[in-house]
Structures are given as C-alpha cells and as structure tokens.
C-alpha cells in the first residue's frame, strides 16, 4: 500500500454507564506518503480523540488503524513501544518538553531510547536544529525559551527518529500569530523538502490552509474533504472558510 495511514471503520465510546459518549462514529479515511493533511472540526467533534487513537495513546472500541501496513490496534507490549519509538512522532499543543533536560537533550532523548551512539545523535540533532532554526537555543532549558522555540524543539524531537508519520495536535494553539506562522512554515519545509507525512489536527482555518488536504469532522463522522490542488494558499484558505461557514452557519443538520 502506498498509504501510510489507513483509518478503517473506527468507533470510539468512552465514559461510564451513567454517561456514555460516542466520540468516533464509523470513521474511515486514508493518508498517502508525503501528504500534509489537516483535520478540522469544532470542539467536541472528536478530532483529538482520533489523534489519540492513531498515536496509541488511547484504544479504539472497534475498527482498525493501519500505519505503514501494520495494524496498530493489535500491538501490545514491546511491539507497541517499538512502534512508538520508530514509526511515530507526536507534537502536543502544550509542548510537553521535559523540564529537567536542555533542548538538545530533549531532542536526543528520542534517539537515546533507540540506543543510538552519541556521535550519531550529535550529528542528527545539530542537523535538525539547523533546519528548524533552533540551533542557538540547544543548550537552554524549556523555561528559558519562548513558546515558538519550544514548539520547534518539540517538532525536532518528533521528526528526529524519521518516523513514518508525524501527528500534531493543535500545534499552534499556544502560540502567537508570528510564532504560529514560523512553525507552520517549518512544517511546510518538513513536508516539501524532507518529505515528512504530517497529520495535523486544528480548529484554525489559517493553520489548515498550509495543508494539502483538509478533512472536516463533525460529531465523529467525516463531513467534508477538500484538496488544495494547484490553488494558492490564500485561495485554499477561502475554500476552507466556506466549508466552515457551512459547518457553523446552519442550526439544523439537514440543510
């Protein structure tokens, strides 16, 4: 299969007997290698739950998820760890860097867990840091960095292991507009020049416009899908806004 990611009829319930919530309702879609896909939806639409399931933070109630041909819903124990180590990169909204380590060590941790040699680690880290423009903050601790720098360090950590797919959960959520733009441009760079497959969840149309494809989710189901194609980013942005208006504009479901 040329697709890196395949979501196959996934359903997710959570809660207790007294309050059951259906987060994902028979969801299916695919992502090809080298694609930059954005998943958009309002709050409560289930997009974070979807990302959690793909990254194995959470388990699906039924259905399958295939990453690089492997059914990750069946992974357990060491295989699961291996998957997380080698095939996956995750970027959180609130960075989730380790406070006790410097930027360099945060990034290298991902490689240390793979038991790579120190020389190799150094080479890779400086390489990525230069590409993302964070070389000068490598020796600083997270509390000494700005939000934008932290997010870029987190991104470096996510991609340094050459994962098959990078998942980003509202990466610009905690950043100001300038830092957001810088981060999204870095994502662009990663996707175009380094051919990284990125799946980004966002509720911000501006962010989504950087992607090459946007999937809209409403109430746990795929609502719409639009492809950038050859249009410019501005035009794509307008197209997205139109769909969002449709999503939010109508009061009832049957329009």
């Amino acid at each position: 299969m040329s697709n890196i990611l395949k979501i196959d009829k996934v359903e997710k319930y959570y809660g207790s007997k007294s309050s059951l919530t259906k987060a994902l309702d028979n969801l299916s879609f695919e992502v090809d290698k080298g694609e930059f896909v954005a998943i958009m939806g309002a709050s409560g639409s289930g997009k974070t739950t979807l990302l959690n399931c793909i990254s194995t933070i959470d388990k699906v109630t039924s259905g399958h998820i295939f990453v690089g041909g492997e059914d990750i819903t069946k992974l357990r124990g060491n295989n699961l760890n291996k998957f997380r180590r080698e095939k996956l990169g995750f970027i959180f909204q609130d960075f989730n860097l380790l406070d006790t380590l410097t930027a360099y060590e945060n990034i290298s941790l991902a490689l240390s867990i793979q038991n790579k040699s120190a020389k190799e680690i150094e080479k890779k880290v400086t390489d990525v840091a230069t590409k993302l423009g964070i070389k000068d903050v490598l020796q600083k601790y997270p509390y000494q960095m700005s939000g934008g720098q932290k997010q870029r360090v987190a991104s470096a950590r996510a991609i340094i292991t050459d994962p098959q797919i990078v998942l980003a959960d509202e990466p610009t959520g905690a950043l100001d507009s300038k830092s957001s733009r810088m981060l999204l441009e870095s994502f662009d760079y990663l996707n175009e020049k380094l051919n990284t497959t990125i799946l980004m969840v966002t509720h911000d149309s501006f962010c989504a416009s950087y992607a090459s494809r946007v999937i809209f989710i409403k109430d746990g189901k795929v609502f719409n899908e639009i492809i950038k194609g050859n249009s410019s980013r501005k035009d794509f942005f307008d197209k997205i806004i139109d769909v969002v208006t449709l999503l939010g504009g109508e009061e009832n479901d049957n329009y």
């Binding site: 959470d58 998957f83 997380r84 180590r85 406070d99 380590l101």
Partner: protein, 503 residues
C-alpha cells in the same frame, strides 16, 4: 542521555521541590541510628552495677521503640513517594509516548530511588553520629556517670541495622513504584490535568445511621476502659475488644462524617447559601471523604501517643512514690538477734547517722568527733584518773565544752557516778565530778557515746551489749554496783530502740 543521567537530572530538580521529603528521610535515618547506637555508647559508661542494669533496660526499650518508629516512618515514606509519583504522571506519559518501555521507566525510577537512598543515608547517618554523641552525654548526665572517659563513638552495629532497614524500605518503595507505573494507561497519564476528580458522594441517610452506630460503639469502647473496667476487662485478652471496637468505629465515624455534615448543613438552607458557605462545606466534605483512611490512622496514632505519654508519666510518678515509701532512709541496718558475729563496720558512725535521718537533732560530725576524743586521757597509758586528766587537757586546749564534757560523761549512766563499770568510785574523792555528773543534762550525742562505749571493747571490735558487759566483768570484775550498771545499760539500749520504733 543514558538512563542514569536521566535519573540524576530528575533528582537534581527534585531537591528543591521535595525538600521536605528529603528532610523527613534524613531525620528518620538519624533518629533510627541514634536510638540503636545508645547501647554501644552506654557500655563505656562508668557506673555502678545496679545503674548499669537500668541502662541496659533502657537501651532494650529504645531499640524496641526504634522499630516502631521505623515502621511508622516506612509508611510515611511509601505514602510520600506515591504522592510524588502521582505528580509526575505527565512526565511518565511523555516517556511512554516516546516509546520507552515500562521496564526502562522502572529503571529510571530505580536509579532515582537508589540515589535518593544513598544521599539520605549518608547525610542521615552523619547527622545521627553527631546526635548520638549528644545523646550519650545526656544519658551520662542522667545517670551521673563518670564523664572523664568520654570518647567519640561510632556504632557499626547501629549503622548496619540502619542500612538494612532503610534498604528494605527503599526496595518496597521501588516495588510500589514499578507496580504503579505498570498499571497506568497512557491516556490517563497524558490527560492527568484535564480530568476532574471523581467525587463519590455518599447517601446521607446511610451516613447518619452509620455515624450514630459508630458513635455509640466508640462511646462503649471508652466506657469499657474507664468506668466499666472492672466488669468488662476480666482477662488480659479482653483488652483487645475495646481496642478493636474503638479503631473500627473511629474509621466509620470519619467515613460517615462528611455525609452527615453535608446533610446537617444543607437542611439549614439560609446558612448554606450564605456567602461562600456552599463552596466551603463542599470542599470540607470532599476532603474528609477522600482522606478517611489517613484521618483514621492519624487520630488513632494521636490516641496511642497521648496514652503512652500519660501512662508513662504516671507510671514514673507512682514508681518514685513507691520507692520513697519503701526506702525512707538512705542507709538501713538490720539487727540479727542471737548472732554474736554481728559485725557492722563502723556501727558507731552508722548508728549516729541513722538517728540523724530519723529526724532527731543529732550533730553527726560532732558525735563522731567526741567519740574519738572521749578517752584521750589514756594517751600516755595511765588509766587511773584519766577522766579528769582528759577533761582538763581538752579544756586547756580551748575546745568547746561538748568536747571536754564527754570525757567526764562517757563512763557514767543515769546521772549517777556510782553507775559505772569497774568498781564503785568514791563519791567524795572528786566532788566536782560527782556534782557534775549529777546535774549535767546529757545530750543525745553523749548518750550515743555512752551506748557505743558499752558495745566496743578495746581493740576496735564491736560486740553486742551483752558480750561487752561480760567483757567488762571479765576485765574489771563484778562489784555491788555491777547489777545497777547493767540494768541502766539496758535502759539506755531500750531508749534508743524506742527512738527507732517511734519513727
């Protein structure tokens, strides 16, 4: 970034955050060492054997107490480390998401625990050694031991005990941590901050019923050990009944307390909606709810502490009072009848001292002194007329009248110059002496010397009165006044015997 380096970094950060935890650990180690090292400190003290027995008992009790303390400390440390682990949930989530196996995370925690253990043991033992020196000084002072032989002592026995005990405790902590890490689901770790507390509210009706029942049970348990102690506690095993009832009912009181408070307050509607009261009461109830177990343990521990403290104080008081009653005198002597070998060295001095303790106004030192000089007239061996000779001698030397009076009074009883041993004196030979003896009011010191003279033959021995009287007869002969003298002697003896009995 090796596992060890990661642990090291975490500890470095922990120092500032968990200062109290470290402080508790260090203190615990120090106290444990001090309690156990008392034994080797005190073994070098120079005390009497009976005091040594007491010290021995004290060290045994302290060792037992240290085990109890260590047990409590163990619980504290396990609880504290679990609490601290909970705070680091998100960190563990990141490790897991980066693909670290749970085993590797356990290794990180393992090294952290070892580092904490080593640091706390080293610092704690150092502190403990210092404190134990102070403690030994305190003990020495308490038992009035000889402090000149003081030297710096390090008890390797206590050191090993501390290391073993705390090693076990850290191993248990490690075990708990590993189990906890293994149990966690990644989603819980990542979303730790977002999830709100599940509040389990209890049925108020049930709470009221349980509270009333537990309160009655607790009251009964207290009654069992105070007012009704004679009816309920018949055998030593019976004491466990009120203990168990008390503990269980305490637990249920706390369990039902929050529900009860809430029900009571909510029925007072006006109070409930006033200001922040709603928030306050809910917060308090929620706190009580979640900490039922710890509150029970704390109140039971406080109870044990207060009981132990007060009972030990009252025990000490009753023991000292008992001792005072059983041994009122500093020195006690026994007279064994029909035992001619009754030899109590320095009987004279001892008896004199004893009379003093009975409250009679005996000048002990004076009595001893006049005892020494009373026959000073015999210094040149001439016995005849030695009485006047020594009287004049001491008078000329400028001594107090007590000292030269004794020279005259020591040989004559009953204010009668005839009442003496060794023959009937001529009352006209020395009118001064006759009148002096007739009119002189004998002090108790003089009477003692009289008595002593009638118990001590020449040669520094001590006889019974009977034997001494026979000795006098053998050496000086029996005369017509001998019977009179003997009778007066026994009267004097009775006088002193009664003195003792009166008190």
């Amino acid at each position: 970034m090796t596992t060890i380096k990661l642990s090291f970094r975490n500890i470095k950060k922990s120092f500032k955050d968990y200062a109290i935890y470290f402080f508790t650990l260090i203190l615990g180690v120090a106290i444990f060492y001090v309690f156990n090292s008392i034994e080797s400190q005190t073994v070098l003290l120079d005390v009497t054997e009976s005091t040594y027995e007491i010290i021995d008992m004290m060290t045994t009790m302290l060792s037992a107490a240290s085990i109890f303390v260590a047990f409590i400390l163990g619980f504290l440390i396990i609880y504290a480390s679990r609490f601290l682990m909970k705070r680091r949930n998100k960190e563990f989530g990141i490790y897991m998401l980066l693909g670290m196996s749970k085993r590797k995370i356990s290794m990180v925690l393992f090294f952290e625990t070892i580092l904490i253990g080593i640091i706390s043991l080293v610092v704690g033992l150092g502190l403990g050694v210092l404190l134990s020196q102070l403690m030994s000084m305190l003990v020495a002072n308490m038992f009035e031991a000889d402090m000149t032989k003081y030297q710096f002592i390090f008890s390797s026995n206590a050191c090993i005990k501390t290391l073993i005990y705390f090693g076990i405790m850290y191993a248990i902590v490690m075990l708990f941590n590993t189990i906890n890490v293994g149990k966690c689901k990644l989603i819980d770790l990542i979303q730790t901050n977002k999830k709100s507390e599940t509040v389990k509210m209890k049925n108020p009706m049930l709470c009221t019923i349980v509270f009333i029942i537990s309160a009655i049970a607790l009251g009964y348990a207290y009654y069992m050990v105070t007012g009704g102690i004679n009816e309920t506690i018949k055998t030593p095993e019976d004491i466990f009944k009120p203990i168990v009832i008390g503990a269980v009912s305490t637990f249920f009181i706390f369990w039902s307390l929050s529900g009860l408070i809430l029900k009571a307050v909510m029925s007072m509607k006006n109070l409930y909606v006033k200001g922040l009261n709603t928030f306050t009461f809910r917060q308090v109830s929620s706190k009580i709810n979640t900490t039922v177990f710890s509150m029970t343990i704390i109140s039971l521990m406080l109870f044990v502490t207060i009981c132990v403290l007060s009972s030990s104080l009252s025990l000490k008081n009753s023991m000292t009072a008992n001792l005072d009653e059983l041994a009122p005198a500093d020195i006690q002597l026994e007279k064994r009848v029909l035992n001619e070998n009754w030899l109590d060295q320095g009987y004279n001095e001892e008896q004199i001292k004893n009379s003093k303790e009975k409250g009679y106004n005996v000048d002990v030192d004076k009595a001893i002194a006049i005892g020494y000089v009373h026959d000073i007239g015999k210094y040149d061996g001439e016995i005849h007329g030695h009485v006047m000779k020594e009287y004049n001698y001491l008078k000329e030397k400028g001594y107090d009248e007590d000292y030269y009076n004794i020279c005259l009074t020591h040989s004559y009883l009953n204010n009668d110059i005839v009442c003496t041993a060794g023959g009937i004196p001529d009352i006209n030979e020395n009118p001064f002496l006759t009148n002096f003896i007739k009119n002189h009011e004998y002090t108790i010191e003089e009477k003692i010397i009289n008595l002593c003279d009638l118990m001590c033959p020449p040669g520094g021995k001590v006889y019974t009165i009977d034997k001494r009287l026979i000795d006098l007869i053998i050496r000086k002969g029996a005369y017509t006044n001998t019977q009179y003298h003997v009778k007066e002697t026994y009267k004097l003896k009775d006088y002193f015997d009664n003195l003792q009995r009166l008190l």
